[in-house]
């Protein structure tokens, strides 16, 4: 690593973008290195394929480079990069033949008509030991449940609960309101919880 690159390692994202805008390629590479893992994981959440996720990661940072001049310091570079990631991932998904997904709006109600009594009350599996929770079978069950979600819901769940982004960051990346993010997240969590309920009942 050159001395110049070692210096920019200490810089903030905004400083890195500003330096890259002036032609500092080391600054651009540090920005890439800082964000590449999260961009890959976000891309994976959309495209569900390692090779496609890597392609989206490459396309994302190429776009970041070519659009450096358009970035305005009024927004966070991370949000800008996540938004570009989402756009590339969605373009790739649209190029694929869409698979049918179930509507999570149409699930039967969990409670009776007056909304006061559960028809099928939740089980008591919140305290299940971690060893059991990490089983391969359970992991597959979770993947399968999340895979059933409509795409616009699945990506919100992955960005919030797997990547740990805030609702504000997810909203910014996807171009939707914070209320929409929370609504999709809540429905997604309830759906996956329901699926796991079935698993733990067996």
């Amino acid at each position: 690593m050159g001395a110049a690159k070692a210096v920019v390692l200490q810089s903030t994202d905004v400083e890195l973008v500003a330096a890259a805008q002036k032609g500092d390629y080391d600054a651009f590479e540090v920005l890439v290195e800082r964000h590449q893992d999260r961009v890959y994981r976000l891309a994976y959440g959309f495209v569900q394929s390692a090779s496609d996720a890597e392609d989206v990661t490459q396309e994302t940072f190429l776009s970041v480079f070519t659009h450096l001049a358009t970035f305005r310091a009024s927004s966070a570079p991370a949000s800008w990069i996540h938004r570009i990631t989402a756009n590339h991932a969605l373009m790739r998904l649209r190029a694929r033949r869409r698979r049918p997904v179930m509507s999570i709006e149409d699930r039967p109600s969990a409670w009776n008509d007056d909304g006061k009594v559960w028809i099928v009350p939740p089980g008591d599996w919140a305290q299940t030991p971690d060893d059991a929770l990490l089983s391969r079978e359970l992991g597959q069950r979770i993947e399968s449940a999340v895979d059933k979600l409509p795409e616009s819901y699945r990506v919100v769940l992955l960005m919030r609960d797997v990547e740990g982004l805030s609702s504000e960051e997810v909203a910014s990346a996807l171009g939707v309101t914070i209320a929409t993010v929370k609504n999709r997240l809540h429905r997604s969590r309830l759906f996956v919880r329901d699926e796991l309920e079935g698993y733990f009942r067996l």
Binding site: Y25, E29, V32, E33, Q36, D37, Y40, R41, Y44, A50, A53, E54, T57, Q58, F61, L62, F65, A110, W111, D114, G115, K116, V117, W118, P121, P122, G123, D124, W125, A126, Q127, T128, L133, L134, L138, G139, I142, E143, V146, L157, L158, D161, V162, G164, K182, L185, H186, R189, L190, V192, R193, L196, E197
Partner: protein, 89 residues
Amino acid sequence: MGDKLNTVTMKCEIAVALVLEFLEGNLNPEVRRSLESHLAKCQPCSRLVATYKRTTQLCHRALLRQPPPELGDRLLRFLRERTLQNKGE
């Protein structure tokens, strides 16, 4: 169990709708107290909250995908080829 739950003021349907904002600490004090009172009396909703939280932990552990270790090298190589060549470097 049905008769017992019917004595609870807040409907389970409403309680479930509030779980996310409750766990994020965003409910106003009055609504939060009402929900906490409901949860204290309603075992199914209390279990729902606990398993809802557990679901988020499970998703994180089961679905976090680490990039391949060689991603960084391949990415920088790709970007150098696509960006620096245009500048004659």
